[in-house]
Structures are given as structure tokens and as C-alpha cells.
């Protein structure tokens, strides 16, 4: 039977079952909290986009005395503006026709009009709603006699709220990563006490750095992977519950208020794996290094 570093690592883990469990638990719990914050941010981003997308149209009322040619020239100029996705021309005649339909029986009131009192309208659809202010200014520069309407305050309010949530979330993640490092550092430090003599003995017998280090590194990575897998599973089922609950209670607000768990879990799972492995590696490297100097 060949005693590979992998086998030694597994044996160490089983022999120090309580220590291993403590490490896995600390990695798992911090990754779960990290995941919750991350899910929150992703969903806020998604909701912001979904809400603001409904306010992506600017209405431009063309000056009353403009000829169709002038209006068309404006339309072409608007289409060249960077953030503009499309421009729809609604002529004054079309607008009046629409008005008549909307008014139904009352449209007789409109029959008496000698001249169409309405002006042409350009409906400008923007690509990125958060850039609306900038786009507004560029559109405004093109023609002096038009009037532009858009959902300025609504968009601003939504963006402001989502920005606050996002920034708080990012700060939370940084703090959590710091706490994770402290927890791992602590766990590892407890582990050192039991391993100090073991490492020293190996040095005296003539073990190279590699001999000593490899099993510990592998152990750290295995602990990290286990923590990542457990936290990912917990996050998946927990989040699935929240999604179902949200769908049941908030379905009148939007069709699908939260991002689907199946899509997110892959991203979060990969992220958890990277963090788990990284933390496990760094943790065990740190703990062994100190006692390699004998």
C-alpha cells in the first residue's frame, strides 16, 4: 500500500475529526453569509434593471410649426446619439387619430377642429436608462424648440436606492472576507498546537519541506472544498425557498421577482469553491510555514 500525501491528509483529517469539523463549519458558515449578501446584490441589480427598463422611453414634442421634413431631420439626428436604441415618429395626424379612438364616443368633440392642434412626437428609446440625464442633454442640444419629457425623478429614485444597497453589500462582502480570514486563521492556530511537534519530529528524521507540507496543503484544500460544497447546497435550497415565497407573494409586481436559483447556484458554487480552496490553501500554508524552520 503506497502512502501518498493524499492518503496521509485523509488520515490526519479523520484522526483530528473535531478539528476538521470545526474548520469545515467555519468555512461553511462564512461562505453561506457571503452567498446571502451576494444573492441580495445580484437580485437588487436585476430588479433595478427590470424596473428602470420600463422607463426607457423619452417623449420629444416637436415644435408646432415644424414641417415634416424638419421633423424627419430631427429623427435622423436623434438616431445618431450614442445611447439611443430607436426613434419612433408619431405624426400629428396619427396622434389625432389615436386620440379619436381613445375618446370613443366623445370624439365628436374633436370633429369641429379646423386644424390639427397637436404636434409631431418622437419616441426615443434609450439603451441604458441610468444614462438618461446625459442622453437628455445631448438630445436637447440638437433642437431648441422641442420639449423633452422623461421619467427623471422616478429613475433617479430607483437608481439611488439600488446604489445604496449595492454599496452597503460590497462593504459587507469586504468585511465578511476579512472575518473569514480571521476565523480560518484562528482555526488554523488551534490546529498548529497539535501539529507543531509532529512537524518538528518530521524535520529531525530528515523530511524535506515537500514531505511535510503536501499532506497539510491537501488537507486544507479538501476542507475548503467540503465547506464550499456544503454552503452551496444550503444556499441553493434556502434560496429556492425564498424564490418560491417571492413568486407566491409578489407575482403582481413583476412576473419573476427574483433570479432563478438554478442559474445563480452555478455562479455562487464556483465562487465558493474558489474562495474555499484559496482559504484552505493559504490557511494551511501559513500554519505549516511557521514550523518549517527547525
Amino acid at each position: 500500500m503506497i502512502r501518498s500525501p493524499f492518503f496521509t491528509a485523509l488520515k490526519n483529517m479523520v484522526r483530528n475529526a473535531m478539528m476538521s469539523l470545526a474548520s469545515i463549519l467555519s468555512v461553511t458558515s462564512t461562505l453561506v453569509i457571503l452567498g446571502i449578501v451576494l444573492l441580495l446584490i445580484l437580485n437588487v441589480n436585476n430588479l433595478t434593471k427590470e424596473f428602470t427598463d420600463k422607463f426607457d422611453v423619452m417623449r420629444v414634442q416637436v415644435a408646432y410649426d415644424y414641417t415634416p421634413e424638419q421633423t424627419l431631420a430631427m429623427k435622423t439626428a436623434f438616431e445618431a446619439v450614442p445611447n439611443v436604441e430607436s426613434v419612433l415618429l408619431i405624426t400629428r395626424d396619427e396622434a389625432l387619430e389615436q386620440m379619436k379612438q381613445d375618446w370613443g364616443e366623445d370624439s365628436v368633440l374633436l370633429e369641429g377642429l379646423k386644424e390639427n392642434p397637436l404636434s409631431d412626437t418622437l419616441e426615443v428609446r434609450v439603451m441604458d436608462v441610468s444614462l438618461s440625464d446625459q442622453t437628455y442633454e445631448e438630445l436637447d442640444r440638437i433642437d431648441e424648440n422641442d420639449t423633452i419629457y422623461y421619467y427623471k425623478t422616478t429613475i433617479e429614485r430607483i437608481l439611488r436606492v439600488s446604489n445604496v444597497i449595492r454599496n452597503v453589500g460590497i462593504i459587507l462582502i469586504v468585511v465578511l472576507l476579512f472575518i473569514t480570514m480571521l476565523v480560518i486563521n484562528n482555526t488554523v492556530r488551534i490546529g498548529i498546537a497539535s501539529r507543531k511537534s509532529q512537524i518538528q519530529i518530521m524535520r529531525y528524521v530528515g523530511a524535506t519541506r515537500g514531505h511535510i507540507r503536501h499532506p497539510y496543503l491537501i488537507e486544507g484544500v479538501i476542507l475548503g472544498i467540503l465547506g464550499a460544497v456544503i454552503s452551496s447546497v444550503l444556499l441553493y435550497y434556502g434560496y429556492q425557498e425564498v424564490v418560491d415565497m417571492a413568486a407566491a407573494n409578489l407575482s403582481d409586481l413583476t412576473a419573476q421577482p427574483l433570479l432563478s436559483a438554478d442559474v445563480l447556484i452555478i455562479r455562487i458554487g464556483i465562487l465558493n469553491l474558489i474562495i474555499g480552496i484559496g482559504v484552505g490553501l493559504v490557511g494551511s500554508l501559513f500554519s505549516v510555514r511557521k514550523y518549517l524552520k527547525v
Binding site: 484522526r15 518530521m202 530528515g206 523530511a207 524535506t208 519541506r209 514531505h211
Partner: protein, 225 residues
């Protein structure tokens, strides 16, 4: 085999642990290293196991100056030594068999070889039936025998024993000394630091006595005095 040239060791605190030590230890010798506490015995052992480097002088092992050895070579140098400590220093979460086997595994011996040799080594130290036990299940004397089996597992050039009987009762101590004598007869070079007068007096081997860091006596077939 082992030569010390004008070795001096001053610790950063200013303590002079060894001064002007010149020694030559030949293959197959059994050498007692004696002296009161603080005389420099521990420093001497730390120097030849390359735990520390002298502040002056040179230490040659088979003509090679170990004080100028690269850090990466240290593990390979240590494999040519067998080290036995007063407190055994066994891996307590490994079986007796594993404690001996892992020393052989570290130097890259084949599994077949390990399986054949570990029982022979355990038999040599009189622990044939203890292979599956953990160190804590053994008496102090038995644990020290495991340590000796581990130390000689790779046929070291020198067996270094730092107060190996320090934690043992007189009777067990003598059993251990018998084992060391047996290994010496088989050709092992042994350096043993000790406090125990009776052992030194009875064996009449070479005695190197240290006092305040200096060698004050080096005689063949000496006693403790």
C-alpha cells in the same frame, strides 16, 4: 567521521555556550558527553544536528563542512544521523509500526523493503508484538525503544542520543543501554549525552566532559568522576 574545528557558539543574548571546541569522533566509537546543566551538551547536539550554526569554527562530517551547507541539503544531512531524545518524540497519532515506517518512507525506500525491514527493526529493539499499538499505550522504556528503532531505520552514520535514559527508571535505563551497546557492536557510531554516573562508570567508554562551554576532559575508557 565527525570533526569539530575551533567551534564557538555565542547566543545573541551574549551567553557563550561553547568555546574552542576541537574534537574528532571516529567511526564505530561510543562516546559519552557529560557535564553539568548549562555546560554546553545541548548546544553541542544542536550543532551537530544542524539545528543551529556555530558563530565561529567549522564542523566536518566525512570531510564536508556542514556549517556551510545549503538549507535545502539539511534534510538529506539529517538522514545520515539517527537522533534519540529524552522525551522520545514519537508521532502519537501513528502506530509504533508507522512511526518506524515513516522514517523509511521519507527517504524513499520501497514499500516492499519497508514491510520487510520494520518487523526486523522492531524485533531488534524487542518490540515485535507492539507494532499495532500507539505510543501512549507503551511504557517509557518501550517508547524510547521505538525511537531507537526509528533512529536506526535508515542505517545512520551516527546515532545521537540526548539523555535517552533521562526519563527512565534505573532498571529500564540499563535495558536501553544494553540495546545501544548491541547496536555499537554491530558497528553504529554513538554519541550519548547523559547525567547518569553509574552508566558512564560501568561502560568505560570514551568520555568527553564539558564545563562552561569548554572541553575539560577527553579520555578513552573514562569514568564520570
Amino acid at each position: 567521521m565527525l570533526v569539530l574545528n575551533n567551534v564557538q557558539m555565542r547566543y545573541p543574548s551574549g551567553t557563550v555556550a561553547l568555546e574552542d571546541v576541537n574534537l574528532k569522533i571516529n567511526k564505530g566509537e561510543f562516546v559519552f558527553l557529560i557535564g553539568s546543566s548549562g555546560a554546553g551538551k545541548s548546544t553541542f547536539i544542536k550543532l551537530i544536528t544542524k539545528e543551529i550554526d556555530p558563530t565561529a569554527g567549522a564542523i566536518f562530517k566525512d570531510g564536508l563542512d556542514i556549517t556551510r551547507m545549503h538549507k535545502r541539503r539539511i534534510p538529506y544531512y539529517r538522514r545520515s544521523l539517527g537522533i534519540v531524545f529524552q522525551d522520545y518524540r514519537l508521532l502519537n497519532n501513528e502506530t509504533v509500526y508507522e512511526n518506524v515506517a515513516f522514517a523509511m518512507r521519507i527517504v524513499g525506500r520501497k514499500n516492499r523493503e519497508i514491510k520487510r525491514n520494520v518487523p526486523l527493526l522492531l524485533n531488534l529493539v524487542g518490540l515485535s508484538d507492539r507494532g499495532k499499538h500507539f505510543p501512549m499505550e507503551l511504557s517509557g522504556g518501550e517508547q524510547q525503544r521505538v525511537a531507537i528503532a526509528r533512529a536506526v531505520a535508515n542505517n545512520p552514520d551516527i546515532l545521537i542520543c540526548d539523555e535517552p535514559t533521562g526519563n527512565l527508571d534505573p532498571e529500564t535505563s540499563w535495558e536501553l543501554i544494553d540495546l545501544l551497546m548491541k547496536l555499537n557492536r554491530y558497528g553504529a557510531t554513538i554519541i550519548m549525552a547523559t547525567h547518569q554516573h553509574d552508566i558512564v562508570d560501568v561502560l568505560k567508554k570514551r568520555v568527553i566532559e564539558l564545563d562552561k562551554g569548554r572541553v575539560i576532559r577527553d579520555e578513552d575508557h573514562g569514568g564520570y568522576h
